[in-house]
């Protein structure tokens, strides 16, 4: 997946690269705007990146809308993605989006909440101005990939200080390592399943977990990083 998304895990983590990543998310998933917000209780930092137009960003900040916006405050407590249709009757929704409308910002969107291991919480929000039918179809289609992308952004942002990076050193299981080792040896997922005597689905679920623990979006990135960290041997 996502070969056309930049690999945040290896980027020098600057605000610019996060906003560029949001732009790429929009392009790849046919969306208008994307925003990420997260809090890191280890470093005490609050992070936010958006690719909304400047006038809306200014208006949002000047009016303190982050204090009432239910797409942030309410959605963060869900474990599932929250379609903003579910928030329509929540306090703050009307006020946030009445203003948004004047700036050409749609209320057609969803928020993906992310929970990390240290009480850290992040949210990736995306919007697209289109009919409800079109939106429902699009969001159902992109959700699985968008879930992975949301966790990727969150993990990367949360690793932007040295302590958090040390705490989040990848801990792979024996099975995750042996699967990556065989992939590094050039075996296909099917082959790896046959060699280890496990189902294709088991290979897939461990590989996905291994990729995400290594902060990689693709398997080749994960293999590269695992070699770099000495978790598997180069062949």
């Amino acid at each position: 997946m996502s070969a056309d998304l930049i690999d945040l895990g290896s980027e020098s983590r600057q605000a610019d690269s996060f906003v560029t990543f949001l732009d790429q998310i929009c392009e790849r998933f046919e969306l208008d705007h994307a925003a990420y917000a997260g809090t890191n209780p280890v470093s005490g930092a609050v992070h936010g990146y958006v690719n909304y137009p400047e006038p809306w960003k200014r208006h949002y900040a000047e009016n303190g809308l982050h204090r009432i916006d239910p797409t942030l405050l309410v959605a963060s407590r869900s474990i599932a993605p929250v379609d903003w249709q579910r928030l329509e009757r929540t306090p703050g929704f009307d006020k946030t989006f009445r203003d948004a409308c004047d700036f050409g910002i749609t209320d057609r969107g969803l928020t993906i909440p992310v929970r990390g291991p240290y009480g850290d919480i992040g949210m990736l929000s995306v919007t697209r101005d289109c009919s409800i039918a079109e939106w429902n179809k699009l969001s159902a289609h992109i959700l699985p990939d968008l879930q992975s992308v949301a966790v990727h952004v969150h993990d990367t942002v949360m690793r932007s200080d040295a302590l958090s990076r040390a705490l989040r050193y990848p801990t792979l299981s024996t099975r995750e390592r042996e699967i990556l080792q065989w992939i590094a040896a050039g075996k296909s997922q099917q082959d790896v399943g046959d060699i280890l005597g496990i189902s294709h689905r088991t290979v897939e679920v461990h590989l996905r977990s291994g990729r995400e623990k290594l902060y990689a979006l693709t398997t080749p990135q994960a293999v590269g990083r695992a070699i770099m960290l000495g978790l598997i041997y180069p062949l």
């Binding site: 474990i79 992310v114 929970r115 879930q147 996905r208 623990k213």
Partner: protein, 291 residues
């Protein structure tokens, strides 16, 4: 019928959650003898504080007959925190598209009342499985890891819903063994369970219709529900789960890593971590550990 209750709508369904916590106490405490804590007839643990999602099955009168709890594997969950022994010391799977499901149970007592047979139990079980698989799938989730006992494992297999694999191994937890099983949320699996149970309708009921059913029932019985005051009190008295890491914890951790390192390489790695922490001025006082 199935309803999903999470942090966004739990204020409206406090009464249902209260019934659910009582069902869990009867099943996991009384019937299965798991080592769970029960306060005032409710089984509530630290993970219920973390705003999980509950998939709950209701009978026609709106009584809770089945339930299961879902958490993301990217954050704190049972396999990472209390069921680690099931994983043979290995770190748990962590993925954006993998949810953990725990506390799966069905109220066989209520379902077998009034001359009903085990058929009713099987139907309620399948409806809950369909509801939780479809809810996960709709949320972009591809797989579920579920902590179950051998009885539920057999029920899954018999309902054409067999786990495709297991992680770790079966271990004794209290009086019963437990295991971690993997289920995919594919349409194929959902269709298999639907075909087995003969369920082809939409299993989900809207928040509005469930609320109306409960209100009508209460009005007819002329009762006022306490709205789940009981479980809210229990939850609020529980200790905060330990999440944030404090500098003293890190120092203790590093000291233990250095002192208990089984070999030179591990010891060197532990010392490197301390160096990073000192060099980055995150924890300058720790230089005493390396000197």
């Amino acid at each position: 019928m199935i309803i999903v209750i999470d942090a966004l709508n739990k204020d409206r369904f406090g009464d249902l959650l209260d019934e659910m916590f009582q069902l869990r106490a009867r099943v996991f405490g009384d019937r299965l003898g798991w080592e769970v804590e029960i306060v005032n007839g409710r089984e509530i643990d630290q993970f219920d504080r973390l705003d999980p999602a509950y998939v709950i099955g209701l009978d026609n009168e709106g009584h809770v007959v089945s339930c299961v709890r879902a958490l993301q594997t990217t954050g704190p969950h049972m396999l990472s925190d209390v069921f680690q022994v099931l994983l043979d010391g290995e770190p748990p799977l962590r993925s954006a598209t993998l949810w953990e499901s725990t506390r799966f149970c069905v109220d066989t007592q209520r379902l077998c009342r009034d001359g009903n047979t085990m058929k009713a139990v099987s139907l309620a079980t399948c409806e809950l499985m369909i509801g939780s698989l479809e809810y996960a799938r709709r949320s972009g989730i591809s797989d579920i890891i579920t902590v179950i006992d051998p009885v539920v494992n057999r029920v899954l297999k018999r309902s054409d819903n067999a786990p495709y694999d297991y992680v770790g191994s079966t271990k004794q937890m209290g009086k019963v063994p437990a295991m971690a099983a993997l289920l995919d949320c594919t349409e194929e699996r959902i269709n298999r369970v639907r075909a087995f149970a003969g369920i082809d309708h939409d299993v989900f009921a809207s928040d509005e219709s469930v609320r109306a059913l409960l209100d009508a029932r209460n009005a007819a019985m002329d009762t006022v529900t306490a709205g789940g005051v009981e479980w809210m009190a229990i939850l609020s008295e529980m200790e905060e789960p330990e999440l944030p890491v404090l500098p003293e914890d890190i120092q203790d951790y590093c000291r233990a890593q250095i002192e208990n390192a089984p070999n030179e390489a591990e010891r060197a790695a532990a010392l490197r971590l301390v160096e990073v922490l000192v060099r980055q001025r995150i924890h300058p006082a720790m230089h005493q550990l390396v000197s």
